[in-house]
């Protein structure tokens, strides 16, 4: 079959949904492969990418046998030198957890999109939710530092996909794009910039002239950002990767000190590169006496609540988290000292856990589950209640 070559970056104004924007962001970032399993409400991503990727010269985009295979194929392709992405929803994300653990341990750059839906179990397949927040950080066994970004508009779906790829390549870590179903499927205007205006960053590679026999895949000597340069398969470096606790050569050694050193380095690596992660967005925080903290679709609702509150004379503000992991603790600590905090979310209360931990005081939860975000009226009521305390 003959197909027409399409441009890699669809510069211009479009009226599309979040899932479409994620695919465009990934293709603009230069993905070569895409492996996924169909799942509502993320199926649109795989449907569109199988149409788009071959037409821009990508290698392969297809449905694989299951969620577990898709994450492991992504890790394999990434080690072979490709930028890769996979997309799923809650149940699939649960299945991917062991593979994601392997990606954290072997420092594999990749992006995993999770379009959240109602849970637990099969739950509400086509409805929206924000219930996978904790799973991102604590879903796989053991300790690992997660990086997760949450867009709230179709425009941000495109922008943050590129940011997610840049972070994952620079930090050599998986990055989770955590959307709620509403943001994935709502239609909005989106502006795609010119190709030359996009900032695309690729992973650090061993410098030319490196001795192939003595190269170590996890050696951070001389790397200020604690990110080891990555060699790929088939280049003669004889690299080795394992999920076991390993030395900087990649060879496993089951040793207490080594394990502690390795895991601490992984945490430090994510912490030291803090400047790469998007900062929270602030609305009316200067004089705010009560502040609502929210992400994704709940933040849109919360912004309306803040505007309504201001009209009624209540000095309210909104802190919208974009990077949800690592948690922006300094900002919460600082805000908690001067204002009352309200958390609005589409779960039984997951985001409120780290917020209360860093605020060091009880915060008010406005929660609504079942597919609809908390309404502005609900959040406004919460703001008033928190102010009265």
């Amino acid at each position: 079959m003959t197909i027409k070559l399409q441009p890699k970056v669809l510069t211009g104004t479009h009226f599309k949904n979040g899932n479409w924007a994620i695919v465009e962001g990934a293709i603009a970032s230069g993905i070569a492969e895409f492996f996924a399993y169909p799942i509502s409400p993320a199926s649109e991503i795989v449907e569109y990418v199988t149409y788009r990727l071959p037409a821009v010269g990508g290698k392969a985009a297809f449905i694989v046998e299951d969620e577990i295979a898709s994450i492991n194929m992504c890790i394999g392709a990434s080690w072979a030198g490709s930028k890769v992405m996979t997309a799923t929803s809650g149940p699939g994300f649960s299945l991917k957890q062991e593979g994601l653990g392997l990606a954290y341990m072997t420092e594999t750059p990749l992006v995993c999109v999770n379009i959240q839906r109602g849970g637990p179990s099969t739950g509400l397949p086509t409805f929206s939710a924000q219930g996978d927040y904790m799973q991102v950080q604590f879903g796989s066994h053991g300790d690992y530092p997660a990086i997760a970004l949450t867009p709230w508009s179709v425009q941000e779906c495109f922008d943050l996909t590129i940011t997610a790829f840049n972070i994952s390549e620079q930090v050599r870590s998986p990055v989770i794009l955590l959307l709620d179903g509403d943001v994935g499927r709502m239609m909005e205007q989106i502006e795609i910039p010119k190709k030359e205006d996009l900032v695309i960053i690729n992973r650090k590679r061993p410098p030319p002239g490196t001795d192939k026999n003595s190269f170590k895949q996890f050696d951070i000597t001389g790397q200020d950002d604690l990110v080891p340069p990555m060699a790929h398969f088939g280049e003669g470096y004889h690299i080795f990767g394992t999920g076991l606790t390993h030395k900087d050569s990649g060879v496993p050694l089951l040793d207490e000190d080594l394990h502690s050193e390795l895991i601490h380095r992984l945490y430090k690596k994510v912490e030291i590169n803090n400047h790469l992660y998007p900062k929270p967005e602030e609305y009316y925080l200067e004089d705010a006496e009560v502040i609502v903290i929210a992400t994704g679709i709940s933040a849109r609702s919360a912004l309306q609540a803040v505007l309504d509150a201001r009209e009624e004379g209540l000095k309210a503000g909104l802190l919208r988290l974009i990077t949800v992991w690592p948690f922006p603790k300094e900002q919460i600590e600082e805000l908690a000292q001067r204002a009352e905090l309200v958390v609005a979310e589409m779960s039984m209360g997951q985001l409120i856990w780290p917020v209360e931990r860093y605020a060091r005081k009880p915060c008010l939860l406005v929660s609504r589950i079942g597919g609809t975000p908390p309404s502005p009226a609900m959040i406004l009521e919460g703001l008033k209640k928190a102010r009265k305390k």
Partner: protein, 305 residues
């Protein structure tokens, strides 16, 4: 705190410094010496299979070593990739095949070789094997079948024969075992061979032949786990088990089988041991269907206009 003793460090004081050439391993260059000693029990068939693989890639095939990558899953056999000084990856339990598929699709010039166990590839990872065979992805799967979960201490595997005693079947195994070669062929493997660890040279040649084959090639190695399987079933030590393999093997060709794959079933008698192990090259598709990466390239043509 008292000074900590590192238990897994090697005592080098008794090592011979600069040993004479005759003590060198013939494939010294292809082994990660710093990862050795291996975790394997003395007499284990996995060592034999690794040696057969190294012999295959040096003597019987021209594939450049740079382009070979060894991938394994979890288990005793799972550690094989760590001892071989080529590009390698030790994937999670059962997921060696999807990892290899990802590598092969991203870099079609690379030849992934999977060396893993029967528990890894046919119990937890069975679904992936079926799909990789169906897609005819260009990879070589070497499965070391020792009829048991060795690393975890001898629990019964899907390959454990009926009646066999294991740690978790103290009254004898009840369910039937898999015929691994039959499964691979049924799912679309285009090359399939089986040898016991007793037949070293034919095994090495079969591995090379499988690697030269474009498409999904499958090599089953019947190995001895005398520590966890042999001991509990009164089959003796490593040598005794291999002697039994020698007695039980029946060489079969594609013609002998004549597409009746049940002829390749392994027979095992409680108290006696293996009584029939059909070995040989069971299938080699001469007019091969095109392997997956090539199909991707040929699937469509991009019109630049």
């Amino acid at each position: 705190m008292t000074a900590k003793k590192k238990t897994n460090e090697i005592d080098t004081s008794t090592m011979v410094k600069n040993p004479p050439k005759k003590f060198h391993h013939p494939y010294d260059e292809l082994l990660r010496k710093y990862a050795i000693p291996t975790i394997y029990c003395p007499g284990c068939g996995i060592g034999t299979t690794i040696q057969a693989f190294l012999e295959a890639i040096t003597k019987y095939t021209d594939i450049p070593h740079e382009n070979i990558i060894v991938i394994s899953g979890i288990g005793c056999t799972g550690r094989a990739s760590g001892y071989i000084n080529l590009d390698g990856f030790h994937a999670i339990h059962g997921r060696a095949i999807p990892f290899a598929s990802g590598v092969e699709i991203a870099r079609p010039d690379i030849k992934p070789v999977i060396i893993s166990g029967d528990g890894d590839l046919f119990s937890i990872g069975m679904g992936h094997l079926a799909h990789a065979a169906r897609r005819n992805i260009d990879m070589t799967v070497i499965v070391i079948n020792n009829s048991i979960y060795g690393l975890t201490g001898g629990q019964d595997a899907p390959t454990t024969p009926v009646g066999a005693l294991t740690k978790t079947t103290p009254y004898g195994k009840i369910s039937y075992p898999f015929n691994l070669s039959q499964i691979a062929i049924a799912n679309g493997a285009t090359f399939c061979a089986r040898y016991t660890v007793y037949e070293f040279t034919p095994l090495a040649k079969a591995i090379a032949r499988g690697m030269n084959h474009q498409g999904f090639s499958f090599i089953e190695v019947i190995s001895n786990c005398h520590v966890n399987f042999g001991r509990r079933n009164n089959l003796g030590d490593a040598i005794a088990m291999r002697k039994q393999f020698k007695k039980a093997r029946v060489r079969m060709t594609e013609k002998d089988i004549n597409k009746d794959w049940h002829k390749t079933d392994i027979e095992f008698k409680v108290g006696v041991g293996f009584t029939k192990i059909p070995t040989g090259i069971f299938l080699e598709e001469k007019e091969r269907p095109i392997e997956f990466s090539e199909r991707i390239v040929n699937a469509y043509e991009i019109k630049k206009s």
